[in-house]
């Protein structure tokens, strides 16, 4: 079994008030030097079976049609092996 991560972020041109609220709060909390904050979503998917090309293609499609709304969001798919998974994969 392996973990696939899908990161979904608002497109750069879309206003991100959540990120802005975080950024505005930082100086008040004594944290300087962060010039921008964007907040997005992280999905951790536990995939049964091997994460091969076919599986990744399906997950890509899932991200595109479901996990992200591509009118407003971009996404990235990453494979992240979980402990003990590597052996099982080979």
């Amino acid at each position: 079994m392996a973990r696939v991560v899908v990161d979904v972020m608002l497109k750069p041109e879309i206003l991100d008030p959540q990120g802005q609220a975080v950024q505005r709060a930082l100086p008040r909390l004594g944290f300087q030097g962060i010039s921008d904050v964007r907040q997005g979503k992280r999905f951790e998917l536990e995939v049964d079976g091997p994460v091969d090309e076919a599986a990744l293609a399906r997950i890509h499609e899932m991200a595109e049609t479901f996990l992200a709304n591509t009118v407003i969001e971009d996404f990235v798919v990453k494979v992240e092996a979980t402990e003990g998974a590597e052996g099982a994969d080979k």
Binding site: P17, Q18, A21, F66, N69, V71
Partner: protein
């Protein structure tokens, strides 16, 4: 026989019973529709009511969009059946791409419940015929994901084609681009808006005004007239 107006219930829908009441107050027959059924029970029009379908998890409207009932609603809407999406229903309509753009978290990040002034920008939709173009109405607004966004081209197109159906007046409550509170598709049968006309159909209840009744009388006239 009067018009039959379907009101869809998704898991997590909240305003279905209120919408059914509004339909009845306007003199039409309200027909409950269940998200798992493809069958639209021969209704003449469909309302997708407000609420938090599927908890609004992932994105508002994102999961409901894939329900069996929506397959039929999408087909019928494309064939010209009147569909009104209120609040969560509007979010579902943008997620299905029956209406362009998307809804995002309010710019102030809070849920907001207020009596909201709107301008009805067009009465050439199935749901606004009973209003005067430019008429100002006040109806409740209540949501946390009410910020309408679309790219500039889409916004320009909506403006040019007269498809901005409602605009916020006095206060833009959520940062919606160009003060857009609701839009229509090109044919005028599919309309979506964030504020809640179904909560403004009886004096005394809620804000005490009946400014929302026009949505339901419009569709009734439209359907009965068409027969």
């Amino acid at each position: 026989m009067t018009a039959r107006i379907g009101v869809v219930t998704f898991p997590g829908t909240l305003d279905d019973r209120d919408t059914q009441r509004a339909v009845r107050v306007a003199g039409a027959e309200a027909v409950p529709l269940w998200h798992r059924d493809k069958d639209l029970k021969q209704v003449d029009a469909v309302v997708l009511p407000g609420g938090f379908s599927y908890g609004d998890y992932l994105r508002a409207g994102a999961i409901s969009r894939f329900s069996p009932v929506m397959e039929s609603v999408i087909d019928q809407a494309k064939a010209g059946m009147p569909v009104l999406g209120i609040c969560n229903g509007f979010q579902v309509l943008t997620e299905t791409h029956l209406l362009p753009g998307a809804m995002l978290r309010n710019n102030h990040l809070h849920f907001i419940c207020r009596d909201q002034k709107l301008r009805v920008e067009t009465n050439s939709t199935a749901w606004t015929a009973d209003y005067e173009p430019g008429q100002e109405i006040s109806i409740p607004l209540k949501n946390i994901d009410g910020r309408y966004v679309a790219d500039e081209r889409t916004l320009d197109m909506l403006e040019a084609e007269g498809r901005v159906a409602f605009r916020y007046l006095d206060v833009n409550p959520n940062g919606s681009l160009r003060d857009i509170a609701g839009i229509t598709n090109a044919a005028g049968n599919v309309v979506g808006l964030m504020p809640h006309p179904e909560h403004a159909v009886e004096p005394l209840i809620g804000t005490g005004r009946t400014d929302g009744l026009g949505f339901f009388t419009s569709i009734l006239k439209n359907l009965v007239g068409a027969r």
